[in-house]
């Protein structure tokens, strides 16, 4: 066991958990209306608990155990953490610690778990303020199982067809698995659930942007675990991913807030925060394959593209993606995957085949596009089936009256702020 690498992956796991709660919960929670603040927090912490257990029961196995179903998904070898935890080896009369490279497999399990729990939670942004709690719980478990696990298997397991071989795509920290999949599913959720009661006529401004700021800042810090932790060791590559991540987030801030400044005359704090997240999303697949300088360009492009998606595309098509889960994670994720094919540099990866367009390669670029298409398809199909099924079985939305009163009081029987 390499203690330094193990330590870094442990710390990274803590950082990614911090991204979900409190990070994402504050980020999203600040943007809903006051009457729904606790529902967002509840969704985040409950999914964190539930999906961690799901990961232990079957999730990790489906994602990382040896192929079944012709490589579509992993098998049952690691069900219940079998083969993951240390076990007594009778013949050697000692405890065997299963390893993944220099780190115990249970640490790999832990780190990958944090990705599994945060991804469905990202989708909350699309259906916030109107989805039934029970339905979203079932949705998340099914989505995690049937959308996330196959995708993770393709992209990150040793035998995944997007990981190795002819179609190998670069996805250092989860652009396809995490952001495209959740972002595309979010769009579908927004469309299928329909608009919030009063959308378009009533003002629905964020009730507490200070929370959104706080969440952004914690996401930013946590993302170092997400991205640089994905190296699974401490190396020059780790440092590269860390720095590229930070510079892309920085550039994203400038890009989004700068666009606002130009287009509207005023840069906003929400814009700066949104830009940081856009930059972070966009650099996620790229950070282990591009130089930090390229990270700056990725952040600039990501900020501008997501700004455009959230302000123009959304209002054009009129869907109600409450907190822009599609606009940021969907658009940013797809752009990032593609830009990885543009900026990838063998100097960083050490692998000559991974040359991006800018250093003269084109194969990698094509593979990135294939990866995007695959992720979009599996997200669309999977989410559609799950939503239709749940809609038939238990319904998706709360009653209009409950929506009006707010989910905090009606779904959870409590209030966020009691200031008198």
């Amino acid at each position: 066991m390499n203690p330094t690498d193990t330590l870094w992956v442990l710390i990274s796991s803590a950082l990614v958990l911090m991204m979900l709660a409190p990070g994402l919960a504050m980020f999203y929670g600040g943007m809903v209306r006051k009457k729904n603040i606790l529902s967002v927090m509840m969704q985040c912490i409950f999914l964190m608990g539930l999906l961690s257990i799901v990961w232990a029961l079957w999730g990790y196995s489906l994602a990382f155990a040896p192929d079944i179903a012709g490589g579509f998904i992993g098998g049952t070898d690691y069900f219940l953490m079998k083969g993951v935890l240390p076990a007594w080896n009778d013949s050697l009369q000692q405890v065997d610690v299963p390893m993944v490279g220099g780190i115990p497999r249970m640490v790999h399990f832990l780190f990958q778990m944090t990705f599994f729990v945060i991804t469905p939670a990202l989708i909350c942004g699309a259906y916030a303020e109107r989805m039934k709690f029970s339905s979203l719980v079932f949705f998340s478990v099914l989505w995690g199982t049937f959308v996330y696990c196959p995708l993770a298997h393709w992209v990150w397991s040793d035998t995944g067809w997007l990981f190795t071989g002819k179609y190998a795509a670069l996805d250092f920290a989860g652009g396809t698995v995490v952001h495209i999949s959740s972002g595309i599913s979010a769009l579908l959720c927004a469309v299928i659930l329909g608009k919030r009661f009063g959308f378009g006529s009533d003002p629905m401004p964020p009730h507490n942007l200070t929370y959104t700021f706080l969440g952004t800042a914690l996401l930013w810090v946590g993302w170092f675990g997400f991205n640089a932790g994905s190296a699974l060791n401490v190396s020059v590559l780790t440092a590269n991913a860390f720095l590229a991540t930070h510079l892309s987030a920085s550039a994203g801030v400038l890009s989004w807030a700068g666009m606002e400044w130009i287009v509207r005359g005023k840069p906003s704090a929400l814009g700066a925060c949104s830009g940081a997240i856009a930059g972070l999303v966009c650099v996620t697949p790229a950070c282990g394959s591009v130089t930090p300088i390229s990270g700056i360009f990725i952040g600039l492009l990501g900020g501008a593209a997501c700004f455009y998606a959230c302000t123009t595309i959304k209002s054009k098509f009129g869907y109600d993606d409450t907190l822009d889960a599609f606009g940021v994670h969907g658009i940013g994720g797809m752009l990032g995957a593609i830009l990885t094919g543009v900026f990838a540099d063998p100097l960083v990866t050490g692998v000559p085949e991974t040359a991006g367009l800018l250093v003269g390669g084109s194969r990698q670029f094509i593979n990135q596009c294939i990866g995007v298409v695959a992720a979009v398809l599996v997200a669309l199909v999977g989410t559609l089936i799950i939503l239709k099924f749940l809609d038939a079985v238990m319904g998706l939305r709360v009653s209009p009256e409950d929506e009006l009163r707010g989910l905090d009081v009606t779904q959870h029987g409590e209030e966020g702020y009691i200031f008198w």
Binding site: G198, S201, D202, P203, L404, R405, V409, T410, G413, E414, E415
Partner: protein, 112 residues
Amino acid sequence: MKKIEAIIRHFKLEEVKDALTGIGIQGMTVAEVRGFGRQKGHKEQYRGAEYTVDFLPKSKIEVVVSDDQAQEVIDTILKTARTGQIGDGKIFVTTLADTIRIRTGEQGESAL
């Protein structure tokens, strides 16, 4: 002059405001209040403790208008603030002794 106080549902505020400006009302004042009435509240539970919350969030609009505008204002509020469900609220009308605009010192209807 009359002061018309309307206690309405929260989410009706914009609509009522727009309707009032539509009939030429130039000013109004709004406060966030909590109302107790026939509309039933809800239960909240915090670990061991259960509370019945009977006070529900409402908006209170105050519009001061000349006597002859009063009925139109009342009608407009009745029309726009109504959902037909218990809890739509009340309108209270008071007669004012005087009104003054602070900026100019104007008094009476010209102060509105």
